[in-house]
Symmetry: C2
Subunit: 403 residues, 2 copies
């Protein structure tokens, strides 16, 4: 049987991810890896989850915890998120919250909701690789939202029309973005909202790292800025994607979308058709743990990760040869490195693995147009200070070899 | 903002489900409901799950249980499923198994994998409502696989071509199907495989109720029959969807697809892009519980549910007026009732709710062509014997009112 003959056309866009292939290397124990943007398991609130699971599986709760539940998500958890969003400047109700299986599922559902084949998504150059993966399934074109240059709204609209569709949304990771570590300032956020108003499109705000700010002043979410303009979330075009993966634990797969109730109710129907609901037990456990310790726990994460960021920035300063530049993130897990033009990140990875037992992610995969060959992403979340210092020394040596 | 203007065309097919709206009625405590096809929570292996969660969150396992994991699923659970599938006549390896978030997600992914807009899916008339919901997102046409009548393969192909696409798969729920409770015999299964060979299409075998056989001889899965023909799963066109929702617990959202490794590896990429992976902790817990008690636990479920089925069949015999017929399922959770032609299932539900405080699902929703107005589905899984007797008496009275 020739499966390629009966696969849907969208499968032509679904290829093996470079990050995925790379992660297989992590099984080799003597590699120092800055590849995966994953939280340090030593920081998981294990004891709190033990208590939460005991509670969820107690006689009073186990029938509900192990049973089917509603597609929109567990009510008390949606209430906790309502309070959290309200504190971020987004007054809302349960009807504005859909629980998803991680924010990756939120991105998949938003692509499914908005993109017909040949429609255009405006994204960063570079952008989160997982967003490209999720959206690709719905066969869009991409255009460059960030950096925007001098392009007008009319130019975006015409370019999309020339490609056989229309612009459907602008997608931006706003705080300490994956992969660059950069944060959009208030002016940049207002400018995206202005563009979206003119084009009459949605805004997808990816806020997975929001709680991990180590210094600098918080910038309000685009959704909060839009609520300021319009007075109510239900007339807003911004759909905010949040996640517990970077704060409590990724293995439970719990995230959320916050937006206009008209859109959330449509996404509830989509979720019902796609997987009925996210695991009941997990939502109950996340609710218990978030209510018990979210603020204290994220404060501790910030304390630990801040030291790693500072260590990495100092080690880059010490070990990078001339001609190499990098971002100075105010939070999150990533530093983005730009190499001299003649050095290819993929070649550097092969060389660094072989000669230095060092891993990171070449930057090219994060660009929809496959530019950015001379870039790479470093994640500092999983490495201790000694590994970071040793790793940056090795990175400097590998770059010098290819310079 | 007019969201309808920017929603993808596929959203036109995604409407509120009648079952979903109906389930809201279950909050009224004095209603006797045979609507939801959901397991009895009194039968959940709660103690085993408590132990499994304690183990998963122990120092040796918690880092893995709460962390990101691979998209294909937890290795030891895939190994358990390999043994289970082998026992069902499907020798296979880990590479033939993808873990999904319930078998509903498997149906969504298989629609996404195979259906371009206007392609045709062959389904039952009636069929599982959740399959219609999952497939609808990929904008297919439907044609009638069961009952097939005298239609030839060429006729199926031509009909699909006339509608602007090609036949991509035949979908069948094989054992004690939702909604009819009926089982396809070996001849029917072989006939679907023959048709699929001629059309060169995939076969989706929905086997969610497989473990719940109360009497009669087991029929080999279509995938086992195809392995018999071809010698290896990797040259088979059947994709088998299994679930722990009806055997261990639906609230953990764990199911699987078993099929040719070429298809599974493509679905792994799809899952990575859509939600990264199913919850790690849940897969570990299901693995522990399945290994500890799957055989004994399902034997107990069969003992309990068999009594409920027998009670319902006897009560139908006692209380149904002349002109009403129903299926005699060998397992599962459902009896399918055919009313006299002039009685509409939707009207009967409204009348039964109002005058008898009785709920069930009108059959029309299970037909892609909205036929079957004089049918309804009864689920006996959640009701005790007294409720079943009382409920069938009330149903008889409601039908007599409308006759």
């Amino acid at each position: 049987m020739n499966w390629q003959d009966i696969f849907a056309t969208r499968m032509g866009r679904m290829k093996a991810s470079e990050i995925r292939e790379l992660l297989k290397l992590l099984d080799q124990p003597d590699i120092i890896s800055f590849a995966g943007g994953i939280p340090d398991p030593a920081l998981f609130p294990v004891q709190a989850f033990q208590g939460a699971m005991t509670d969820a599986l107690s006689p009073a709760n186990s029938s509900a915890a192990l049973q089917y539940s509603v597609s929109e998500g567990y009510g008390p958890l949606r209430d906790w998120i309502v309070d959290e969003m309200t504190a971020l400047g987004v007054p809302c109700t349960r009807d504005n919250i859909l629980i998803t299986s991680g924010s990756q599922q939120a991105l998949d559902y938003l692509g499914k909701l908005l993109l017909s084949p040949n429609d255009t998504a405006l994204i960063g150059w570079p952008t989160y690789l997982g967003a490209l993966g999720a959206f690709n399934a719905y066969e869009p074109n991409y255009d460059q939202l960030i950096p925007r240059g001098n392009r007008s709204a009319a130019d975006y609209a015409q370019t999309a029309k020339d490609k056989g569709g229309q612009v459907k949304f602008a997608y931006a990771s706003v705080d300490f973005a994956n992969p660059t570590g950069e944060t959009l300032d208030r002016t940049a956020r207002e400018s995206i909202l202005d563009l979206a108003e003119t084009l009459d499109i949605a805004v997808i705000e990816d806020s997975a790292y929001q709680a991990l700010r180590y210094d600098g002043d918080p910038v309000p979410p685009m959704l909060a800025l839009e609520v300021e303009r319009k007075g109510s979330i239900d007339t807003c075009r911004t759909l905010y994607c949040g996640s517990f993966s970077k704060t409590l634990a990724p293995g439970l797969r719990v995230g959320w979308v916050c937006g206009a109730s008209e859109v959330i109710s449509q996404m509830v129907l989509m979720k019902q058709a796609a997987d009925l609901h996210s695991a009941t037990l997990n939502q109950m456990a996340i609710n218990t743990v978030a209510r018990a310790l979210f603020a204290d726990h994220t404060a501790n994460l910030r304390r630990v990760y801040r030291v790693r960021r500072d260590t990495m920035l100092a080690a880059l300063q010490e070990h990078m040869p001339e001609g190499v530049t990098w971002t100075k993130p105010e939070g999150g897990m990533f530093v983005w490195v730009t190499l001299p033009k003649n050095i290819d990140g993929g070649e550097l990875l092969r060389h660094a693995l072989e000669t230095q037992k060092l891993a990171f992610v070449p930057g090219q995969a994060f660009f929809a147009d496959r530019s950015g060959a001379n870039t790479l992403r470093l994640a500092y979340s999983l490495a201790d200070e000694a590994q970071i210092n040793e790793g940056m020394q090795r990175l400097g040596a590998a770059i010098r070899d290819l310079a």
